[in-house]
Symmetry: C2
Subunit: 295 residues, 2 copies
């Protein structure tokens, strides 16, 4: 198998040390380490410094030591992020965010994805879904407790990750790409949808392909995965052989879809102006999926 | 590839019709259909009738029509479940539940998994995690709304599914199985752990293997997946080649672990009393994983 580029948002050098997070001494020890670093953010958009690196800074006088998460260690140095009150819609990418993604080196994009998912989850989950009480940060920033000391129900809550399947239907050497109305003109990509409760990856792929495009999957094979921090999905990329190329599009979801050949996919990935579509950006796993299928 | 039994909790004949759930007429139309069926439950344990089938019943005078979820259609008949206030710990299986699982035919176990995940999610998420307001059931039982009409923040909340990796480390024709202290005597299984925010499936497999057993993954391959309704995980089963068989066990998680050969795995799966371990139950994907590796 050729040596493909890893999917976007993977490859962070962060050591999570997740079994140590629950110990208060762990957090305190690292917070007082002079090598501790804090990520600067403007809303959810990270500070980026020369060379496309994340802007990590030593703690300064103006930096709050409350509501921090300890992501983990990079080169033995503790890396913290502030748990902000954010107002922006974290499922969307601002223009500044897109610009940042184009600048960041892959390993820093991966570390940023971890930070963003965590910050955003805290911002959107300050209350206990079981009893409605305000919760507080525990486990070095990796969970929230509905504290019985303040009337809570003792439930612990952990950051949420939603599995999503993203897939190419394949029929006789061609694959299916579709577009949503809101996308940039000319862009086509793999179809996708959330895995629901009580279904496997393979069942979710078959269900979504049938619902969105009316094609019947006969075989599903897994290709690759990536975290997607807008706001916090696990993207699971698959290829599904389908029985017939006849389409019945659910137009509310898929505005248009086309069957494309290997040469057409390679042209699109190469940025050929005559290609029949514009591909998804390189950090999206749909790009990885097209690349691996075409190779 | 041989034709293996599908993983447990897959293969439900339910047609989810998820794009119709949001329409109130959809729900109302199916509720008044004389063919509508309701699942009988004792807590979270399903009623089971002859032949290992789920106990679906026509609506009767005593059945509440409030707080129902419409799972979808089976053979064009609408299938509903009651959204109960449950008190039991849904991450555990009672003795009655284990007995039910041993009786249920696979396709009904799969439908039950959908029902259980949904019922349990509603029971544990009556309040809005964003603002703390009591939410109400919408989308035919598949979501909750923090209703602005009753002071809510308009957020919609969808059932949560937590991705979990479950994996066999592989080294020179042997695989690693481990046991937790709480398990039945002699049982060994694949190692497992939650996928965290900001990591891929492959990264989660490598992290968990290193943390729990001290082995370094050099290659991860996906094998299969299943939903796991205790309470609501997506189990993602993989095999990871590792650099060395030397173990450093995290004893808080893994009490003991052993490297076993293909013949030993086959003996365990066959119930041979001389096998070096007892395998996980057939409906667990760890059993699927062992079966597929050994074949």
């Amino acid at each position: 198998m050729p040596n493909f580029a890893p999917p976007g948002f993977t490859g962070s050098p962060l050591v999570r040390l997740d079994h140590e997070r629950e110990h208060r001494e762990y957090f305190a020890k690292h917070l007082t380490n002079p090598a501790a670093r804090l990520l600067r953010l403007d809303g959810l958009t990270p500070d980026i410094v020369d060379g496309g690196r994340l802007g990590w800074h030593p703690f300064g006088d103006g930096d709050s030591q409350d509501d921090l998460a300890l992501l983990g260690l990079i080169d033995s140095e503790p890396h913290f992020v502030p748990l902000l009150k954010i107002r922006e819609d974290s499922s969307q990418r601002s223009a500044a965010m897109n610009a940042a993604l184009n600048l960041l080196v892959p390993e820093d994009a991966a570390t940023y994805a971890i930070a963003r998912c965590l910050i955003d989850w805290h911002a959107r989950h300050p209350f206990c879904p079981r009893c409605g009480t305000k919760t507080r940060v525990i486990r070095s920033g990796w969970a929230r407790l509905c504290d019985p000391a303040t009337g809570g129900c003792k439930a612990e809550h952990f950051p949420r990750t939603d599995p999503v399947v993203i897939m190419l239907a394949e029929h006789e050497e061609r694959i299916l790409v579709g577009r949503q109305k809101s996308w940039p003109a000319g862009r086509y990509s793999a179809l996708a949808g959330f895995v629901e409760v009580g279904e496997s990856i393979e069942e979710a792929v078959a269900r979504e392909l049938f619902e969105e495009a009316g094609v019947v999957a006969t075989e599903v094979r897994y290709v690759a995965s990536q975290p997607w921090p807008f706001p916090s999905q696990l993207m699971i990329a698959c290829i599904a052989k389908v029985r017939s190329p006849d389409l019945t599009l659910q137009v509310a979801e898929i505005e248009h879809a086309i069957w494309v050949t290997r040469d057409e996919v390679l042209a699109a990935l190469a940025g050929d102006p005559d290609a029949p579509f514009l591909p998804p950006p390189p950090y999206a796993i749909a790009n990885t999926l097209l690349t691996r299928w075409a190779d």
